[in-house]
Symmetry: C2
Subunit: 143 residues, 2 copies
DNA sequence: CTGCGTGCAAAGTATTTGCAAACCG
DNA sequence: CGGTTTGCAAATACTTTGCACGCAG
């Protein structure tokens, strides 16, 4: 995964900090808070400010390289998602792993909104929470 | 709409403040922030604290009498929704009006999650944003 | 070079909490 | 009367901003 290349493609300077943030999310394979990313960044850099982490996460999310989790606690969480197509996510509430879903009922929604409300859809969000196979397997073990 | 009765059914004391908050949301017909509810409360009560508004909104939402909007700005917004069945909402990003949707692809989602991830769904969120018929009509006028 | 990126310090601000007093049932 | 509910003040904590310096292209 050539993050350097990805950044250049988006006309973002490939700074060490930026690359590291991408790398951390890429290898985490779970969603992380800005603070958690910061903690990992501090292991790689002597000086690294929390605002830099916030700014980069927001920037990268804005360009679609990483995605945000919609979380009930209303805090920010990000994860790496290489899928460029429109899609939604399954979030494991136990281990925080995020998986792509291919199902999207956009057509049907648009149809209902148009028919019953005569309104226009501009966007929609959807997210599925649950327990992934790994986590439910671990739970079995514990018993 | 007998809010007094609703509260008693849920074993919540029907205090004037609580009833007023419900009443405000009920008549607003759009989603409101705690602060906006507070502003309206101050017109009805000489003393009314913002924490009281926060606490009641959260309490009422917890019991399902009112609902929360999932908002990109990650702030709290509530609206009155009498529908007790599981359903989702269409939110007009122009006037903040919220409409019920009946479409829900829960079955299909569960099927995909189970088949492709072998995971278990515990909950899901979904919300549709757009422009309601009133707002798009008004825009036409302006042109 | 030159403008984007970063560090640091500081501000902002929605949301919560603690506790004593008031109040509903 | 007894457990809720409320007001007020204060705290929390996440997130953002300003500005001067540094670095990638």
């Amino acid at each position: 995964m050539d993050h350097n290349h990805i950044l250049k493609e988006l006309k973002l300077k490939a700074t060490p900090k930026r690359l590291a943030i991408l790398d951390i999310l890429y290898h985490a394979s779970i969603y992380l808070s800005p603070d958690e990313v910061w903690t990992q960044m501090k292991e790689r850099f002597r000086t690294i400010g929390l605002p830099t982490v916030y700014r980069n996460l927001e920037e990268l999310a804005g360009r679609g390289i990483i995605s945000k989790v919609i979380h009930p606690d209303r805090k920010l969480y990000y994860f790496f998602c290489g899928n460029r197509e429109h899609h939604h996510h399954f979030v494991c509430t136990s281990c925080r792993k995020v998986n792509d879903l291919s199902f999207c009922a956009f057509e049907e929604i648009q149809k209902e909104v148009s028919r019953t409300l005569n309104a226009t859809v501009s966007s929609h969000i959807m997210q599925v929470f649950g327990i992934c196979s790994n986590c439910s397997a671990n739970k079995e073990e514990e018993q």
